[in-house]
Symmetry: C2
Subunit: 233 residues, 2 copies
DNA sequence: CGTAGATTTGAGTTCTGTCAAATTTTGTGG
DNA sequence: CCACAAAATTTGACAGAACTCAAATCTACG
């Protein structure tokens, strides 16, 4: 799943507010009180929600092409999209407007609907990760996801972004920052991963991560770039 | 959220396969390999997925009016809708057909889209329940949900359905059946809940449950019957 | 009325959380 | 480019919640 095809992107852009972001920047999901839809153009983002004084969670990471309708996020005390990468761009559109465009153009309707469905599937997957895996497996799961989404083969192995701090990882995986740190130390010790510069990690290969995560297959199916083939003809 | 208004229901019915169910009956989500959409007409159902030889999970309960598009469930080894109540009815529609109906009728499009969004929000909520609450609070959360959805005031207190076995509750809450049993024993002991016949429980009032669950507000917002007011005019 | 399956409960284990201190990294101003 | 303060990370020691295993009950049903 990447960005929609050009003609559709142009249509969407015409109704979008383009929001370029830098690293710790956050975009509130609710404030305008209007039902909106956000589409990631570039970069990695963190959907972060707050549900009590000091309890935050990151139900999902967002990548280019991902769509998030604000109405699919329950009415938390606070909900925002936080920039994970140094730079990136998000488009915000008003849902009623998009609705009208969808009514007029079935191709566009299909793109948007399917992307929203994909986001829903990701929430469901996150349930399984948190509910069914232990700490080590959960961490392997996020790393596999990031590797599939942002990984590049280099002479030193597969390098990928790690836009999450220890606390972020903890909030994403329902663990605790100390525990995450311990798990990562172990993984570093066993040679599964090695630091590869600022906010980057590297591992031998995808297979190395797959071996650590019992639901690798599901993660691949939702995050692996599709074999090159044009969408919807 | 209850069933859609009559005229829309009629349209949907014209393209539906109506599936009446009895208690342990299950409807496979995937087999037809076609992208389908299911709408609950009556009864309570359990969305149950299997992701390894002996690991099952119940990511969501489904109530009348709820819509589930098969594509929003990741490609698990197995995924099915299991009847929780003695009797109930589900409608199955083919997604491509519904898509066409949506293109032709904005009212219907809105109903379906919003119901799918609601389902997505429920997945997100489930994440928070599992990730942020302890055992007791999670159990209180499901009971609050069931009480809001199926509860009725009686002389002996608020009575509601409990269509889930201990194992089901465990699979829904990322706990273990033994632990669930212990928690329920404690709740019974403290008088929070009392058995009220076959697959039914009763509690003093909604407030009693709300007090046990830190995110009661969110649960109410997604499950409480809306104050009587016609949808979409 | 007996059996298979579900539930309950106890005892012991394990994983993760909590707290606190040490260490490293990051960002900023000279 | 360097020094420093603030923030993030790491790590140890300990506490607790939940899991596992197994035995005892209880229930639903034929």
């Amino acid at each position: 799943m990447t960005l929609p095809p050009e003609p559709i992107l142009e249509q969407l852009e015409s109704e979008s507010v383009r929001i370029p972001t830098r690293k710790p920047q956050r975009i509130a999901l609710a404030p305008p009180a209007t039902d909106s839809i956000f589409m990631i153009q570039s970069g990695v983002y963190l959907l972060r929600v707050k549900w009590s004084e000091d309890r935050h969670q990151i139900p999902s990471l967002l990548y280019p092409g991902d769509c998030l309708r604000s109405a699919v996020v329950p009415p938390f005390e606070k909900a925002e999209i936080a920039a994970g990468t140094d730079s990136g761009e998000v488009w915000r559109m008003r849902w009623p407007v998009i609705t009208r465009m969808m009514a007029a153009d079935p191709r566009l309707a299909r793109e948007v609907t399917d992307r929203l469905a994909a986001q829903s599937a990701r929430f469901a997957l996150q349930n399984v990760i948190i509910a069914g895996l232990n700490g080590d497996e959960r961490v392997a799961a996020v790393m596999l996801e990031l590797a599939l989404r942002t990984g590049r083969q280099t002479p030193r192995g597969l390098e990928f972004e790690m836009p999450l701090s220890r606390t972020d990882i903890a909030e994403h995986l329902a663990l605790n920052a100390d525990t995450v740190s311990r798990i990562l130390s172990r993984m570093r010790g066993s040679g599964l991963i090695t630091p590869a510069g600022r906010n980057r990690l590297s591992c031998a290969s995808i297979e190395a991560l797959v071996g650590e995560c019992p639901i690798a297959g599901l993660i691949r199916s939702l995050h692996e770039p599709a074999p090159a083939m044009p969408l919807a003809v």
